[in-house]
């Protein structure tokens, strides 16, 4: 029941503010409260090389690059220090099986931290 209900509630809350795409492995806190899944290339590790002179997106010229926005917000928003420190984390590939599930449940069950056995990160980025 909860498994069915929570994704609906989560989406209802997050979609209007963050344009949530329900990837099921939320990283909003470490990206200046900017959803990386709204990047047309769905990049989770920072801005691509195509960012325009005015800071807008290579793919959608009318939209500010979400990683430029995330960077500005990480610097300017009064977010917890540890969240800011996580900005340059090396984030693992998205687990496509979690698409549409609730990241809240996946957080509690730590399902969102499971990575493939061959994925290892050398050390933290700060």
């Amino acid at each position: 029941m909860l498994k069915k209900l929570l994704p609906l509630v989560e989406h209802a809350l997050k979609a209007p503010v963050w344009d949530c795409r329900m990837c099921g492995q939320c990283v909003l806190h470490s990206t200046g409260m900017t959803c990386p899944m709204t990047c047309p290339k769905t990049l989770r590790n920072g801005p691509c090389g195509g960012v325009r002179e005015n800071g807008n997106c290579e793919v959608k010229p009318e939209m500010q690059c979400i990683w430029v926005k995330a960077y500005d917000r990480t610097i300017s928003l009064p977010l917890p220090k540890v969240w800011k420190e996580h900005y340059n984390d090396l984030r693992p590939p998205v687990d496509m099986r979690l698409q549409g599930s609730s990241s809240w449940i996946n957080l509690v069950t730590k399902r969102d931290q499971q990575t493939p056995a061959g994925w290892s990160v050398k050390d933290r980025d700060h």
Binding site: K41, T42, R44, G49, G50, V51, P93
Partner: protein, 298 residues
């Protein structure tokens, strides 16, 4: 060990790399012709992966063909057209043919190309792909399945030093190194001030990462304009544009501008070489190299 790796890791020599022209028609003869032109000047040459989102002969097959004609390839893989399985099989396939320099990029979007209606993949991003390559070089696929013996990859990446957010680009270089990149080829850059700030910062924050800035040999103000308007992430400052536009001899003026950019780039901290994209296809490459005090090896 690849020449590129040997030079970058075990010597203080500068390395020179270039872009291999995309292969469409023309068969092996065109590979042979281009290889003969580039071989005397370059330590390694990039085999691109559908650059600017246009389909061409594939990265792996081009790299194999280049190797047959005596060039050392740096095989690029972009994340736009392939999911994580295909990216890993590209790398394993390259290794099967003795290709060990692998450079991983996020890549231009499909909308940059001539088939903008295509599905974009981006299953993983450039940094994740680098980390996957490092995993393979230490003996396993992403799944954890063993590879024995592990492929001997020398891993590279690309960064745009001149795109916003500027200060963050240095952190991104660090992140690419942490993921596994040993060398970093930089996007063509017409802002020497931005390049300088980036190289100084990167040399301080991540001194192990070998930086290779890039310049492009072009013919005229028109081609400068084209790059400015059409190539994602390249901006040509108005002053440089005007300088070339107003010159009596545009060909020479843009050549001089590029030479100044190259010399400046080579003087920066952390810089271990230069990447040259030749859009002129005339005799200026040899002139350019000798103006940079390079001697050809035949």
């Amino acid at each position: 060990m690849s020449t590129l790796r040997e030079k970058l890791e075990n010597t203080d020599d500068l390395v020179f790399t270039a872009e291999f022209p995309s292969i469409d028609g023309g068969g092996m003869a065109s590979v042979e012709k281009n290889a003969a032109r580039l071989a005397p000047w370059f330590d390694a040459v990039n085999a691109t992966d559908n650059p600017a989102a246009h389909a061409h002969a594939s990265n792996t097959t081009t790299a194999i063909a280049m190797k047959m004609y005596g060039l050392e390839p740096i095989m690029q893989i972009v994340c736009r057209d392939k999911n994580r399985l295909a990216i890993q099989s590209d790398m394993m396939g390259a290794s099967l043919h003795g290709i060990t320099n692998i450079s991983l990029l996020t890549g231009d979007d499909v909308t940059a190309g001539d088939e903008p209606e295509a599905r974009r993949v981006f299953d993983v991003d450039g940094i994740q792909a680098i980390n996957i390559a490092r995993g393979m070089a230490t003996g396993s696929y992403l799944s954890g399945r063993k590879i024995d013996p592990a492929p001997d990859f020398y891993i590279g990446a690309v960064e745009n030093a001149a795109a916003p957010p500027f200060e963050y680009r240095i952190q991104r270089a660090l992140k690419k190194h942490r993921a596994g990149a040993n060398f970093l080829q930089l996007q063509i850059c017409y802002h020497p001030d931005r390049l300088e700030a980036f190289c100084k910062g990167a040399a301080e924050v991540v001194p192990e990462l070998k930086l290779i800035p890039a310049v492009a040999l072009v013919k005229s103000a028109k081609s400068l304009n084209f790059m400015n308007d059409k190539i994602a992430g390249i901006d040509v400052p108005a002053a440089s544009m005007a300088r070339v536009q107003n010159a009596s001899d545009q060909r020479d003026e843009v050549y001089q501008l590029t030479l100044e950019l190259a010399k400046h780039a080579l003087s920066l901290p952390g810089v271990r070489g230069l990447h040259i994209t030749d859009f002129r296809h005339d005799d200026s490459l040899a002139q350019f190299m000798s103006d940079l005090a390079r001697v050809p090896s035949y």
